[in-house]
């Protein structure tokens, strides 16, 4: 054992110096290399995680918005169709009423005109009857005077 120690130059002080040297290196590398680098990796990892989560959230929100848009559009279309139908119905009804009115008016006017012509006709017949009678009387007078 003695020989081994002397041949290999094993020396307690040298051993201690090497141990301290390594310990110091361990401390320095841990403090100034491993910890900052691993911390940086962790920071980046959390950042990426957050970014991915945000992207997923945004995507989901976009999908929701998309669905909302479609829903609103569908509703609007439905409502528009309803309105148009209603307007059409209204218009047909109105048309009906107007047609009926016009018909009634026309019938009324026609009746009026018929009645007027009838009356005028009657009047003219009466007038001509009266004239014929007057003429007959005049003729009779003339004949009587000659005689």
């Amino acid at each position: 054992m003695e020989q081994i120690v002397s041949v290999f130059g094993i020396n307690g002080k040298l051993l201690l110096i090497q141990v301290v040297n390594f310990g110091l290196l361990l401390f320095v590398l841990h403090r100034y290399l491993y910890r900052p680098v691993l911390a940086m990796v962790d920071v980046r990892r959390t950042k990426i995680e957050n970014a991915v989560r945000d992207a997923e959230k945004a995507e989901a929100e976009l999908g929701e918005a998309e669905a909302e848009k479609a829903r609103i559009l569908r509703e609007a279309t439905l409502k528009g169709d309803e309105l148009i139908d209603l307007a059409k119905k209204h218009a047909t009804e109105e048309e009906h009423v107007m047609m009926k009115d016009a018909h009634r008016k026309v019938v009324h006017l026609l009746g009026e005109a018929e009645r007027r012509t009838e009356r005028e006709h009657q009047e003219m017949i009466e007038k001509s009857e009266r004239e014929v009678a007057r003429m007959a009387i005049l003729a009779a007078e003339k004949i009587l005077r000659k005689a």
């Binding site: 290999f8 130059g9 002080k13 491993y34």
Partner: protein, 247 residues
């Protein structure tokens, strides 16, 4: 004649003394490795941004990959994060040292002592048993501490002291031996691999100074990576074994 022979010393060369503490060339090298890693840490930290650059991407990929692997192995994210610094520092420390061991100047810059012996200023860090033993002691203590902290002292010691049966007692003794044997296997594995590589390069350089050492050096850098990975991985696996309760 003296300069022609290959001089190989198992022990690191002492290059000076400071406040009564011996200074060896491998120790100086470990300070250099420390400085390189500290500068790397500083550069990475200064350029740290939410949107990463090239270096940051590399570092992050490496760290997260290792952490994920550790979490998978330990099946405990919190514990993995706790011992992640230890495992990664062991790897980076050993790997950086092995990576720069063939940098020109390391091992070739130095002076001749009075007796004609060459003393290099810098020497590959893991060719000193003091370094590898220090790393092993740190890993060993960490493993035991994690085991005790996770299982509790009584339940952890049951792995080694089991009086329920004769066989269980024997198994406990064997466990205890294998636990202590790690101190030797860990430190000598790393030391032996790197030292052998250095010696091989030295011998080859002695006979064929050009070209041939290059592929061997590339291979040795690969071995250096493997050894660093093995040291770190074994620490991880022994932690896993320490937190697993005895059957």
């Amino acid at each position: 004649m003296e300069e022609e022979s290959i001089h190989i010393s198992l022990a690191a060369e002492k290059i000076g003394t400071l406040w009564g503490l011996p200074i060896t060339n491998t120790m100086l090298m470990s300070f250099v490795v420390f400085a390189i890693l500290a500068v790397l840490a500083f550069v990475v930290r200064r350029n740290l941004a939410l949107i990463p650059g090239r270096l940051q991407t590399l570092v992050e990929t490496l760290f997260v990959g290792i952490l994920d692997y550790m979490t998978e192995t330990l099946e405990d994210a919190k514990l993995a994060r706790k011992i992640f610094p230890l495992v990664l520092t062991i790897f980076l420390f050993i790997f950086t040292a092995n990576l720069i061991e063939f940098t020109p100047g390391i091992g070739s810059m130095g002076w001749f002592e009075g007796d004609g012996e060459f003393v290099p200023l810098l020497r590959s860090m893991n060719t000193d048993l003091n370094t590898t033993l220090a790393l092993t002691i740190i890993a060993f203590i960490s493993i035991e501490v994690v085991g005790v902290a996770t299982l509790g002292f009584l339940r952890y010691s049951k792995k080694f002291v089991n009086v329920s049966s004769v066989l269980g007692f024997m198994v406990g003794i064997i466990e205890l031996f294998s636990e202590v044997a790690r101190l030797v296997s860990f430190s000598f594995r790393l030391f032996g691999n790197i030292f052998a590589g250095e010696v091989m390069i030295l011998v080859i350089q002695h006979f064929v100074p050009m070209l041939l050492p290059v592929p061997i050096m590339i291979f040795e850098v690969f071995v250096g990576f493997i050894q660093a990975a093995i040291f770190a991985l074994l620490t991880l696996f022994f932690v896993k074994m320490a937190i697993t309760e005895a059957h």
